[in-house]
């Protein structure tokens, strides 16, 4: 995998998911049999209070942390390309907060890698959300479920694929 196969970007404009997905495939080569793409969106609160978010980050450290997470994913699974684009600043209900995309020969590696990247991003990348609603603004609290999700990658070193892939398997 070439160095350019892993790409991180922080931007304060809307994320064009279709363009990111296409660019990811463009740098994956013709061995790509699986592409998994995740998008996190500003969602409505169950009680209807949220109108948007403001996202603060730690410039410099953010890019470094995301790059480290992609490199860790690429070290664990046989990936062809991977990318993260994270938005900062103000965004409205329904807008994209983050895009994560991965390509691999087989789907299991691609699924595991995207879940891993999101679990680590949620607990280790320096971003902070402030929810903006009718009743004013408030900082969003960290979720215990995100910390639990991150823990599952801490235990078993690298053997994290759910199923064995035998060498003579030619198909995805």
């Amino acid at each position: 995998m070439s160095a350019s196969a892993l790409q991180v970007r922080i931007q304060n404009t809307a994320i064009d998911v279709a363009a990111e997905d296409a660019a990811l495939l463009g740098r994956s080569g013709d061995a790509a049999g699986a592409r998994v793409s995740f998008v996190g969106l500003v969602r409505a609160d169950p009680d209807g209070g949220v109108r948007g978010l403001t996202l603060e980050h730690y410039p410099g450290m953010t890019e470094r942390a995301l790059g480290d997470i992609l490199a860790a994913a690429a070290a664990r699974w046989p990936l062809l390309a991977a990318g993260v684009v994270h938005r900062i600043g103000s965004m409205q209900l329904g807008e994209n907060i983050v895009w994560v995309g991965v390509t691999a020969a087989h789907r299991q590696a691609a699924f595991m890698a995207v879940e891993f990247i999101m679990d680590l991003l949620k607990t280790e990348a320096p971003f902070w959300k402030k929810a903006v609603g009718a009743a004013g603004e408030h900082w969003v609290s960290a979720r215990a479920s995100d910390e639990q999700a991150r823990q599952r990658w801490a235990q078993a070193g690298s053997a994290t694929l759910p199923t064995a892939v035998s060498p003579d398997d030619k198909d995805r």
Partner: protein, 83 residues
Amino acid sequence: MRLAIKYFARLREQLGCAEETLEVATPLRVTELIELLQQRGEPWRGQLCDPVLMVAVNQCMTTRAQKLGDGDEVAFFPPVTGG
């Protein structure tokens, strides 16, 4: 030695400070830097005793036991909530 210190998100708002440069006399650990800052009284004393506060030195997540050196960039912030 000289340290660059940054504060983010809720902590930045509660301290009313985004970043500062501090001259300290002796080598010290993160935990000793926190004690030094808490000597300013409130809101520093209360805000910096929060055990869930995260700390990064030179843009890498670390623990309160880490030793600091001249020119280090130290950042304090609440648990992250991106994605």
